[in-house]
């Protein structure tokens, strides 16, 4: 069981650990983003190509000439942040009245739908499997070694295979998101469904509670912090799976496709790829926060889960 290391899979509150308030964390995070932006533009200020007036092309008037020329800081490798923001409001194709932002957000929502379906399916499958494993020693011995071994192999390598096996369709992407979700959920729930207080189990036994009653009233509630820890990991994993299925797998309409397309046109418009990646990152964070919100709502009565 080497996969279960020390501490870090165990849910714990960030505040208790780091002794720093929520408000200060948010402030620090904002400050960090500001510093990052300043650093980014600072590098370009020192070693980029000549800065031109906003919205003008390569022939526009030069407003600043950086003293150095670093390849890393060129407009191709590191576009100006304002240009990335501006490109969001430009048409995504010549002559189209759909902006890049609308186009990418559409794709992101499409990807999210696929990921979310797979995520929900995977969570239920994982829960069902873990339930079976904690109630049957034989099933546990037969299958759990494989579930654990799955954590040591790059199971995402299967993604293109699945797209070819099930066709370039939504179904393939959903399947990928499902299996990327159910592995972490199963592993966490095998632990979680056994994390009850043994004294509480004796109490249930003293009531002659049935296996089902014990499950619903003790095992499941005790396992919820573990479930949410796994779900937060799986939320991102399901989106990664969807993107890999769509992009290299060749499913149209999703973020993966948009990333591949804009990557092909990177030379003419690097800002579009950057903007897409920005929105992809935001999608991941939004999905994570959604699960985190559910967690806070579900576990709000428990002292350890309220923060973090």
């Amino acid at each position: 069981m080497a996969a279960f290391g020390s501490g870090e899979t165990r849910p714990a509150s960030a505040r208790a650990r780091f002794g720093i308030g929520r408000r200060r964390q948010v402030l620090l995070l904002v400050a960090f983003v500001v510093v990052l932006v300043l650093l980014w533009e600072g590098v370009k200020f020192l070693g980029g190509v000549p800065w031109r007036a906003l919205g003008t092309g390569p022939q526009g008037p030069v407003i600043h000439n950086p003293p150095f020329r670093w390849p890393l800081a060129s407009d191709l490798n590191l576009p100006h942040i304002w240009n990335i923001v501006l490109v969001l409001f430009q048409p995504f194709q010549r002559g189209s009245d759909v902006t890049v932002m609308a186009h990418v957000v559409d794709a992101a929502l499409y990807t999210w739908r696929e990921a979310a379906i797979g995520f929900v399916l995977g969570a239920f499958i994982g829960l069902a499997l873990a339930t079976a494993f904690v109630h049957s020693r034989l099933l546990e011995r037969a299958f759990v070694p494989y579930v654990i071994a799955s954590q040591t192999i790059p199971i995402i390598a299967l993604a293109p295979m699945i797209v070819f096996a099930f066709g370039q369709s939504v179904i393939s992407v959903v399947i990928i998101a499902t299996y990327l979700t159910f592995f972490p959920v199963t592993i966490a729930m095998i632990r979680g469904l056994r994390s009850f207080d043994p004294r509480a189990m004796e109490l249930m036994q003293s009531y002659a509670a049935s296996t089902w009653q014990t499950y619903v009233k003790l095992r499941l509630p005790a396992s919820l912090p573990y479930l949410f820890t796994a779900l937060k990991i799986a939320a991102t994993a399901s989106i990664v799976g969807a993107i890999v299925g769509e992009g290299p797998g060749g499913v149209a309409d999703g973020l993966g496709r948009v990333i591949i397309t804009y990557n092909q046109y990177y030379i003419t418009g690097p800002e579009k790829l950057w903007a897409t990646i920005l929105i992809t990152a935001l999608l991941g964070i939004a999905f994570f926060l959604l699960i985190r919100g559910l967690e806070v709502l579900t576990l709000r009565a428990r002292p350890s889960a309220a923060s973090g």
Binding site: F18, P145, T152, A157, N263, I277, G284
Partner: protein, 270 residues
Amino acid sequence: MTMPGFASTLGRLWYYLPALLVAVGTLVAWEVVVGALSIKAFIFPQPSAIFSALQANWASPQFPLFASAQATLLEAAGGLIIGTGAGILVAFATSRWATTRGLLLPIAVAANAVPIIAFAPLFNNWFGVLAPLSKMMMAAVLVFFPVMANVTRGLTQVDPAALELMRSYAAGEGTILRKVRIPNALPYFFTALKLATTLSLIGAIVGEYFGGASAVLGRVIVQSASALRFDVTWAAILLAAATGIAFYLATAALERIVIPWHASLRATET
């Protein structure tokens, strides 16, 4: 511990018997069913066909499996070293100040929520789509955050009584770091490292999915699949899995050597 070696080996064999049966049963059923139906055989080739593809393409010019696995492992290992090194450095540099720790945790959480894989095309553009460095950097970024977060935790989540004990000896910060914080962080570090081996392979392979030199596992998987050579695809996937397991086991072995006290501690916990 009380069981003599032979009996305990037998006991472990008995314990894993059902798992072995499942593996053998799956392989047999796969072989028989695919053989009997032979309809979708080209997508799910028989295990025997996969093994012969593995043999035939071990060093074939079109799908050189062995060289590809080597190249991918090199990218993953390079990424693992870069990402782990950077993670440890940042953890050490920042773990002394509560403010930076309070900042790093939410950043690590946010970074974990971001599908970092989406950055693969950028790395390809920056470091060269054909250069192994672009895959290494992809792997390194994936590895960095869990290592950084876990080492920070290990360095800071020390039993307060142990710190008080060191204070009673009038020990300096350097001594406390060497005698308490670093040993305390080692189990956390190895937990992250075991996670990181898998992540580094994922980073390398997915980076390859988004384009790269042809003799790497990710390219072989995509190209053989689009050429409808699914026996080769499965052979490559098998090789990726074997690489992952070997990588992981090597890390776990290293852990047993470096922190034997922790492994025995865990064995008694269950």
